[in-house]
């Protein structure tokens, strides 16, 4: 087999693996669900056109040349999408390094490793780009339907963004390996991905709060201050925005730059890719993480379970990065609270839905980790404890963690508005309890490391968890502004949770 044939064969192999992984994620690993997954995907894509229309529909008539303010908004939106792609790409690259899978086979083969890893880098770039294209399609569709075929150029911009995000992610991850070593890179990369994904939006919100006392990021983007400091209209910095609008010259330049960037990363890092993977493989060798000697602690069996769960949660890199992200999302409302402390402005009301939703989401993740993600199920099942005692201890861990995280914020809110604090506290408890209950009803035995795929075990549970968090957040917000509407919304959300329970799998008593 010639070198070129071998490479194309390896490329096909990589694409097949990527496709099967994605397909398994969509169908939960069950081939029988293929038709349901396809129908679900089509419905989801169709439904996504509605929010896309609401968010972006009014921009469909925009034409070049644009004023500076519009260029700023479009460029910021492109940059926001790019940071999200970068965040996802860093996560993908880290996963490739740490998952041994076929690395032994590849590295023991007589093939030129630099070439094979070039193909692997390209495959990562393609998968990141494909997902970006998939999610951006409804938005671009809306623009094409409303404003004409010239908006199709936006697909080219998405491709350029995906390729460049993957290239930067690979470079950043390999550099992290070199700088801080494989043992710390996994955690730092996950935290970095979380910060990059959320950082830009939060920075805009913080700037808007500090300058205008509002959570809306568009306020800062359309302000005169930003326009005054932005480059001139004919600057090269507006290239991506022009490319989206159908400027073919800008689009070609953008695509060329992305390809050059990816090519450079492949040339520079493909030979280091193997070294990095080898370094990552023995991550966690004995001696890498040590704990101090301390006496065994006394307590009940449930206390032993709770202590174990807290230790594992505290040492979970995913959870730390996710909690950090949730806390990052809480920075703008906390800032808003601080700014409006003495004032009972309507802006303060916005804090409640944000924290209620964050509590629901975090509780869902924690509940999965404690209830489903049990690494030693046989040990716990053969321990002299009743199953209900085990479940109760695990639920307590989730609720204690949520209380510890959200108590300071509610306490601060109590000084500004005791009524709002009471409503927020109640909604946090209900939202966290609902997410925990959904995870309990749909629990499946899994390893904690499978957290990334938790959504595949039950689509219904995933959607129910998301909708219950949103529902309780909306109910709390409405209860503050329009109590009757809040009660109705609360009843609808409670019904949704009840329906989810009705559809949950039956278990042996």
């Amino acid at each position: 087999m010639s070198s070129a044939t071998a490479l194309s064969w390896f490329a096909r192999h990589e694409l097949r693996l990527a496709w099967r992984e994605w397909f398994a994620m969509m169908t939960g690993g069950r081939r029988k669900r293929t038709r349901a997954a396809i129908i679900g995907l089509i419905c989801f894509a169709a439904l996504l056109h509605l929010p896309a229309w609401a968010v972006i529909g009014r921009f469909a008539d925009l034409r070049l040349p644009l004023d500076k303010s519009t260029l700023i908004v479009i460029s910021a939106t492109i940059f926001l999408a790019w940071t999200l792609m970068l965040s996802q790409a860093i996560e993908s690259v880290t996963r490739v390094f740490y998952a041994r899978a076929d690395l032994d086979l590849i590295m023991s083969s007589p093939a030129t490793l630099a070439n094979l890893f070039s193909v692997r880098i390209a495959a990562i770039a393609l998968s990141v780009t494909a997902i970006a294209v998939l999610f951006s399609t409804p938005f671009i569709d809306v623009l094409v339907i409303g404003g004409g075929a010239r908006w199709l150029a936006a697909f080219g911009v998405v491709v350029a963004m995906g390729l460049s995000a993957a290239a930067i992610a690979i470079a950043v991850t390999i550099l992290l390996f070199r700088l801080i070593g494989p043992a710390r890179t996994r955690l730092i990369a996950q935290i970095l991905a979380a910060i990059i994904g959320a950082g830009f939006v939060i920075a805009l919100q913080v700037a808007a709060i500090m300058s205008y006392g509002t959570l809306s990021r568009f306020t800062i983007l359309t302000s005169g201050t930003v326009a005054a400091h932005a480059p001139d209209i004919d600057s090269i910095w507006w290239g991506p925005a022009r490319a989206v609008m159908g400027d073919s010259e800008a689009l070609l330049l953008l695509l060329a730059l992305a390809l050059v960037l990816l090519g450079s990363v492949m040339a520079m890092f493909s030979h280091r890719f193997a070294d990095t993977a080898i370094d990552a493989a023995p991550y966690g060798i004995p001696g890498s993480r040590r704990a101090k000697e301390r006496p065994f602690r006394t307590g009940s069996r449930q206390q032993a379970l709770r202590r174990k769960e807290f230790s594992l949660l505290w040492r979970d890199p995913w959870l730390i990065s996710q909690t950090l992200m949730q806390l990052l999302y809480l920075v703008p409302p906390a800032l808003l609270l601080w700014r409006n402390f003495a004032d009972s402005s309507a802006a303060l009301t916005l804090i409640t839905p944000v924290i209620v939703m964050a509590a629901g989401q975090l509780a869902g993740g924690l509940a999965w980790l404690t209830i489903s993600g049990e690494d030693a199920p046989d040990l716990v099942a053969t321990a002299p404890l009743t199953p209900s005692g085990v479940i109760r201890a695990k639920i307590e861990v989730v609720l204690i963690a949520i209380t510890v995280i959200f108590c300071p914020l509610v306490a601060a809110l109590a000084f500004a508005s005791p009524y709002q604090a009471a409503v927020s506290a109640a909604a946090i408890i209900v939202s966290a309890a609902s997410a925990t209950a959904i995870q309990l009803w749909f629990r499946v035995q899994a390893r904690r490391s499978q957290f990334r795929r938790r959504q595949t075990s039950s689509r219904l549970a995933t959607f129910a968890e998301a909708f219950s968090s949103i529902g309780w957040a909306a109910s709390a917000a409405l209860l503050l502004a329009l109590p009757i509407a809040g009660l109705i919304c609360g009843l609808i959300t409670a019904s949704l949770v009840a329906i989810t329970w009705k559809f949950s799998p039956r278990r042996e008593p």
Binding site: S288, A291, R301, Q303, R307, S311, D375, A376, A383, P384
Partner: protein, 279 residues
Amino acid sequence: MTEFAAVRFTVPKHLRVMVASDAKPDGVAVMKPDSSALEVKGLTKRFDRLAVDSLDLTIHAGEFYALVGPNGAGKTTTLRMVAGLLRPDGGAVSIFGIDALQSPVAAKQVMAWVSDEPMIYDKLTPLEYLEFVAGLWGIAPSVSQPVAQDLLESLGLAPHRHERCEGFSKGMRQKVALAGALVHDPRLIILDEPLTGLDAVSARHVKGLLGMRVRAGCTVIMTTHILEVAERMADRIGVIASGRLVAEGTLTELRQQNGHADTSLEDLFIALVTLPEAA
């Protein structure tokens, strides 16, 4: 049990105390198998086919019992039902006189389960793992901490006791799991293929420790594919095929049942398990 003699072990301090009450002059206690540790009657489990078929089994206290059989014979299913990990479709399980189906918590208090795939927590150290297990069984720290230290010492894990288990080899993980099963001092230990994937040194460590436990009065039930281990270690061997116990007894008794006084366990095993399959 010649193999035990070949392994040099320091008897953990807590075991020395336990042994002392029944000690013979040479310091080794041997409990007579005069009462049943496990009694199984008519145990039945069906998945898509009958996995365990009205199985009757009695294992005496202080006995080392090996359950052997071909793949899919029902060994693991039987032991998982005994350990309370699987609900039987029919039958009764009694552990030291406790009805394990009616009073599972009381039954679990006196037994330990070790599976072939060591299930431990990657983010805990061996010592933290043992603290957790002892806590689950409600053992006072003043008792469990020295026991845990002794176990890690005797299993060669003492240098790694403060390291997280995430980088441990299969053998080390299996030894941590075994230490977890022993830290609460169970009267009955159930092991499903505990030697799978272990190197010779680790396997010898595990066998030595189990032998020592049996000598201290503990009952051990073990499934194994390694017939040589069953032949050397077990007081009695049960052969299971198609969910039924097809033969049981000491090696001599099994040979007598088969009519060949000098045949190996491997030959006996093949002869016994091919009969029900052919039927």
